[in-house]
Amino acid sequence: MNDVHYSPLFLSLKVAAISTSVVFIAGVLFAHLLVRRNFFGKSFLESFFLLPLVLPPTVVGFGLLVLFGKNGWVGSWLLTWFDIQVVFSWIGAVIASIVVSFPLMYQSAVASFESLDPRLENAARTMGASEWRVFWTISFPLAWPGLLAGLVLSFARGLGEFGATLMLAGYIPGKTDTIPMAIYFAVQSGHMETATFWVTIIVALGFSTIMWLNWWTKRNVRRFAKDHT
């Protein structure tokens, strides 16, 4: 166990943190834009957003490989203009994480915004508040419990992402070896102790995340549901 390198822990945290930030902003933005609008093609767009939830991760990874590979539409553009190579790099792991965790954030955000009483936002508008102010002072704080749940789930999903990451980022020790990857290849090469160590770490992380979320939600619900005093 002395030769365990801790890079998988830091890499996993880095990948999950960056992907969660991107997913949170994009999920909240799209959910808020789409939730009270109806237009042609909306259900197609929403199905597209949620597709990674039902597809095998390898299929998502394959799609990303086609798109971000050296000869892919996006991959060749990124390489030519910005000298960024996505395949076999930690950026690939971030992109895979973003794609698989986005549906969780999007769904949570849609549910949170849908459950808001539209009269609260309308009341703010009639009092002269701009759409920006309505969002930051009414919609966002009232939707926050649901948004936080989405954020935590996305982080956990990003932390545990394996299939699509393997397809896009591969397994390069010290470069793309996230915890799930380290577990898989430790088992493959017969290093059961190392695998057990990483399994313990990821179970502890997942468990404490859910414990904290449950605690926070209960505390929050109690605060809003207090009896008249």
């Binding site: 703010a124 009092m127 809003f224």
Partner: protein, 224 residues
Amino acid sequence: MLKVQIRKKLSHFTLDVSWEMDNEILVLFGPSGSGKTTILNSMAGLTHPDSGFITLNGRAFFHTQHKPLSPQKRNIGYLFQDYALFPHMTVEKNIHYGVKKKAANHSSFRIEQLLSVLGIGHLLKKYPHQISGGEKQRVALARALATEPSFLLLDEPLSALDQETRIECQNELLRLHQIWRIPFIIVTHDMNEAEKLGDTILFLEKGKIIQTVNHPPKKWPADH
């Protein structure tokens, strides 16, 4: 002078109403689904009629040929059914929400006056879930009037209250109208309430005004 002429196709009928009013209390009376709330929402700019106009002292809020004025620019007060108080803000923050920072000094006197007339000064630090139905109604009224609106829309403002509080709040509405002297448009199901509050009552059915009743100027609450 507030002039309204609205035509809007709804799912079961076409809303088609028109009236003119001064700084009086106008009651929209009719069964559920007769288009009352759509009228209020059209006046507030939360929905738009298919055609017609809404003008206040010559200023067009809506006109078929022009882009409608956004709700933010109409300067109206809207008391929603069940009040729509912001649950995550204290009573004080709710009341100050629409007050512009530039006008804060000028408004503070008006808000003090509102708090005193409505007797809600002691509730400022409380949250909406910590106060009673009657208190919520008063807070919502204070919030709607704090922005110094040019007219006030009230969607069944007293329907959630018990009989005693209801009568108390009816008197308060009349008193506030005497002080503020702006057009009040009130939606109600209750005939007694309509007769007590309204200078004019419009009876609505399936989007049409079927009868208009004008009352003589009246009706100072009995206790004043």
